[in-house]
Symmetry: C2
Subunit: 378 residues, 2 copies
Amino acid sequence: MLQFRVEKTEVASRARLGTLVLPNGTVHTPCFMPVGTQGSVKTLTPAEVVESGAEIIVCNTYHLYLRPGHKRIQAAGGLPKFIGWNRPVLTDSGGFQVYSLAALTRVTDEGAQFQSHVDGSRHLFTPELVVEIQEALGSDIAMCLDECPPYPVSRPVAEAAVARTSLWAERCSRARKPETNLFGIVQGATYADLRESSARSLVALDLPGYAIGGLCLGEASDVTYDMVGRVTPLLPIDRPRYLMGAGYPEDIIAAVKLGVDMFDCVLPTRNGRTGTAFVSSGRVVIRNSRHSDDLGALDPMCDCYTCRSFTRAYLRHLFVVGEALGPKLLTLHNVRFYQRLMQGMRAAIEQGAFENWSGEFLDRYRSSAQPTGEDSDR
Amino acid sequence: MLQFRVEKTEVASRARLGTLVLPNGTVHTPCFMPVGTQGSVKTLTPAEVVESGAEIIVCNTYHLYLRPGHKRIQAAGGLPKFIGWNRPVLTDSGGFQVYSLAALTRVTDEGAQFQSHVDGSRHLFTPELVVEIQEALGSDIAMCLDECPPYPVSRPVAEAAVARTSLWAERCSRARKPETNLFGIVQGATYADLRESSARSLVALDLPGYAIGGLCLGEASDVTYDMVGRVTPLLPIDRPRYLMGAGYPEDIIAAVKLGVDMFDCVLPTRNGRTGTAFVSSGRVVIRNSRHSDDLGALDPMCDCYTCRSFTRAYLRHLFVVGEALGPKLLTLHNVRFYQRLMQGMRAAIEQGAFENWSGEFLDRYRSSAQPTGEDSDR
């Protein structure tokens, strides 16, 4: 079982500072969890992820179930050990990937039938199986199987997804071993009353933690914040809250102010691989020819290996000629950028100065923002 | 200028232990130089290359001249600094790449005309320009422009290549600044007398070091060794000797016994990227299903991060699902394997026990060799 202690809650906002003790280690919240879908935070060694300051990563049940298989990982001592990380791992249930990646054949109350995107083989994810897989993986935090509709979605479809998500959460909860840290996932799309009823029905299950799913899928930021702000007051104050798939630094800051504790997103890793860096003054598209002769650091305010060791001119060269080191060095920086963001937030909450800190951060961050058009899908 | 000191020469073989002092650092020979063609040892950070024990790397004049351009690198403080390595770099002249990669339009005594493989632009590499480029790059060791025929090649073509290589070497030597450490390249294909005459004509130029080029191109190992064995006795004993493009551990061992001091090859990096590891007992093709549940280290005798941290089962998983970390971890191991090989050799020469050491190494290495059919091209 997990232990979660809220060390401090800001008076001016709902931002909270917490300590989350998990079987494989302790996590300081608010936290950002780098994504290691298939058991690897893309391009980084576990040692580099540790060095970034990350204390927990997110892996994916759907992918690991297909390859290499949860039984194989169990035989190797569980996921944290198998991947050489040996620290806390949260596994997403795979519901999102079943809907987005697999050829979905049929969803009924029983579960989700799908065909593997790898070899076309047929599978059925039931709430019970998804819990069993995550228990075999030895996840520090397991997620309920949920139904996550795309955005936008009609009210009747959203309603049905909320009902099924609640039904499945109850079955997940019944199936789990007592020591399994199972999180429920609040759905309801962009319908405020559905969000609230989803939250209430999951809270009734008395789960160790709660996630907010089905957001950051393309809706306007104001809508995201509105939905989050309606859900968090309904969640128990002594349980961790996780906003799935967020996102941009400004979104994370806004959600922390609304009382969210945990985040994950592919943005730092995916953008790093494709050549966009998050820096103190905004975003940098490193292939831009303006960097050809720039002998300055990627981010002069950053302490990561990339910023300490290389110029923008060299990083651009690596991307232009297609060297694998380029995507790796930008990923390394971005992952560290997000950890520094969270460290800055935690220090600000500790000092009761979150509003002030976030204003300064965002002023600087927006000073040269270069939107890239990339989305925060997971 | 370089300083080269032969610390010891074996009585039983011609194997020699040396110290090579270069502008950017000291290199212990026999040495293996990882290949960083475009200014990056593929998939590795400079810190990881340092940690492997490598003291010098090889970069490529042709590639860096095209992108990002030698003037740009010069403005950034030279190649060792630009790439964040800050240690000795040898640059190949680019002759080999002009012949193998570019659309070669014409070679005359003046130089090699070619079209860039990147954008089709037209260029002329003269001996003088190639020296000028390498001086701009700030290479610790610069190579003469040479003419390197493919294998097999007729005697008249080989003869002409030897003549032109000598002519160009003389022009390179005249063009260089006094402090430029210029190496001549012995050609002559597989014709013993041509090899000998090529060596004699280059030695007459009194260059700081000598390379043997145009071997390890597909000829039988016996032929390689025969050619090397005919050349090394003709080279001055107080100058470093570099066999270009070798190779497999057994080839390096054989060449060290013939008095060669320096080696480079893409094998450890290329094979690592494509999933073949060099281990104490031979070669391992990591995708092989036999490794699916293997919880042992890649090489139990190795001290690298990969072997200390991960199982063969996890490494196989990374390759099967296409994670970039797989090629990186195998490259890291292979580069360390080659450095451990050279460290073992140097210790053996120091103790006057090279024959004994190499017998033991090769007995173990051949115990489960799995040839992969890959070639040692550069």
